[in-house]
Symmetry: C2
Subunit: 394 residues, 2 copies
């Protein structure tokens, strides 16, 4: 910066301080030449970072291609609502547990927080998390209905003991306090296993879109069963056959039959870089992405850089957690010729992510739009464009 | 809700939709009776949650007593600046590495992101993270200058190989692009060991207050050495003796001597509940808090509920990560009589968090205000108040 400019700057700055004009109002060449913004009550995202969830009427999707690591920022966690986000006052919030129990109980939020707590980093994925059919789709478009947080709450098993679940109770109904009164029937075994009545996410209270003040969290199970704005649990001896488990959230199988209660999210992976809309240059490329399984831990992720002919093992970022997104990385030298790259995961049950052909062969042409986890391909063009490759699944 | 009220509500709502008035404008008894807010481009914190960092001129503090789990929300990460937050354009950002290297290199942000990456959940703590002297202090007041994120970037060792660090180079200077030109000398061994040139935090780009677009991250080392807005690394064969390692960030020891380059943060723990300003009732209380060590993993946390006479083992929330905040929990029945509760951590080097008497005995009365990690006590009063207990250290 020229001396004259510095002199002008100094004068301007002194004037700014006197008049209360923010220093940032004055353009400067070097941020190191002016005092910066002082500490604040709350931080902000840089205005250079444009991160949005691309909302539709009923959902919004995490921008997976923009993420690093495994934590999803809470304000970028995907959304899927059945009648919008209700405004619930935590001071008047109540959760009732009744039905086949010894002692029906109404819990306040303060009651729930007094019980011994548990925290767990785990993913949450919508069972309808699949889109395809054209080249210009990003990871967010294709499978942005998955996100990961550290969830904190009380184990449902603790509350089951508190209310005294009766021996014959085999299912419970979870009801949300949204305008859809979202309801799902859940096997009691999941409640005893690892279900959490969650009141916190990534260190702080749940965000409103994620069920504030309290949601059900069922590690590894399809998103809609993780009922948000949870207000009622009823214990019973059979499922309730609610709308969301009869007309919705079921899958066609062969011979005109329908599969209900397909809770577990199957293992899946996606390369998030390079991926549309990024462009790449020939040379060394670190292929990066996310892999997860609703049934346990990721055992391995394999990468193909030749359209599925051969596969090589990717590096997994520690810690590899149970029922959690894992970051994988694979260093690859691209010679600039057109090729298709893809990833596939194997979980610790031995299950390997299928191709779309394998999915179709197993479930039949009426399989519908839920629980689709096919291997996802990216076409690298010699000009550096990266396009989604629906063809690789047909 | 009475039928008449519902009718009025429906009319109001229809009108609201027609006129564009937000539905939330109309007070309703039951959020389940009106459509909620649709999905958005970006989430928000509930307006019922008031979380602030209590800024001073030079710092702001994480509200530890409000946190759950181990992740600090990025906008609540503590701040400690030496001349405010500079506004740096990522498109023009550059990092130069020079000095005792074979090939001085200027890296852009895009360059840094092309290298193989690494992610790690780890704490960051200011070496001046201590306040005491009165009863009405919260965990935020006492030690809110510690926070935890998942950090992502390129290993400094990778860049060291890229520039060809010369055999004789034993130190490097890290210089920030803030108006203080914050500079610290760091042993090259730390660069080869686990230093990260970080560009992301909790899944997204660094927040401006945390060094956007790039900071040095030195796992376990005192906060100020993790130079933010990093613009220059110079390799050399001795420390630079900058202001921040001579007049500041040094500690008095015995015989009028000064200790320099005390990088490692010693193991520490604090009970965050119950803690001021919370109040408690007699009965079962889950004592909760955070423990960490800059030298490795937390091996155990012990809890005393009788002023330090006896200690019992707390439960540690998995995963227990290296150089990371760990959440501990201890279920205790309080009979309502006045008592002091406290925690102490032992790390995997065998080091146990000292009392203030032990710190004074080891370092002498001129030890100053840095690297103070004493056992912190909370006085429970029969009326349910919880007060900080400075007396327990004297």
């Amino acid at each position: 910066m020229a001396t004259a400019a510095v002199a002008i700057l100094k004068t301007s700055f002194a004037k700014a301080v006197q008049t209360g004009v923010p220093v940032s109002f004055f353009k400067v060449d070097d941020p190191a030449k002016v005092p910066g913004t002082p500490p604040g009550e709350i931080g902000t995202r840089s205005h250079f970072e444009k991160l949005i969830k691309k909302p539709s009427d009923i959902s919004s999707r995490s921008p997976l291609q923009d993420f690093h690591g495994i934590i999803t920022p809470s304000d970028l966690h995907f959304e899927r609502h059945h009648n919008g986000v209700p405004a619930i006052d935590p001071a008047t919030y109540k959760l009732v547990i009744h039905g086949m129990v010894e002692r029906p109980v109404v819990f306040t939020l303060a009651d729930l927080k007094r019980f011994p707590g548990v925290s767990r980093i785990a993913f949450l994925e919508c069972s309808g998390n699949f889109r395809s059919g054209k080249e210009e789709l990003s990871p967010q478009d294709i499978c942005g209905l998955t996100s990961q947080s550290e969830w904190t709450g009380v184990r449902l098993s603790t509350l089951f003991r508190e209310v005294g679940v009766r021996p014959g109770a085999s299912w419970f109904l979870a009801e949300g306090g949204d305008a859809a009164l979202m309801t799902r029937s859940i096997p009691v075994t999941k409640g005893w296993d690892d279900a959490i009545i969650a009141y916190a996410q990534n260190g702080e209270a749940l965000r409103p879109e994620q069920g504030y003040p309290v949601r059900l969290f069922l590690p590894g199970w399809e998103g809609n069963t993780n009922v948000k704005w949870l207000r009622r649990l009823e214990l019973g001896d059979s499922p309730w056959q609610t709308r969301e488990e009869t007309s919705k959230y079921t899958e066609g199988i062969r011979d005109g039959k329908i599969r209900q209660f397909s809770f577990d999210m199957d293992a899946r992976s996606i390369i998030t870089f390079p991926a549309f809309p990024a462009t790449v240059e020939r040379g060394w490329i670190e292929i990066k992405g996310l892999a997860w399984s609703g049934r346990g831990k990721v055992r391995k992720v394999e990468i193909s850089t030749n359209g599925g002919k051969t596969w090589a093992i990717a590096e997994l970022q520690e810690p590899v957690l149970d029922k959690a997104h894992v970051r994988f990385r694979y260093l690859w030298h691209w010679n600039g010729t057109e090729t298709v790259i893809s990833s596939r995961v194997t979980d610790d049950t031995g299950y390997t992510q299928p191709t779309m052909q394998q999915l179709l062969a197993a479930r039949g042409p009426e399989m519908g739009g839920y629980h689709l986890n096919p291997v996802t391909g990216w076409l690298l063009k010699p000009d550096g464009r990266v396009l989604h490759k629906p063809e690789s699944w047909r």
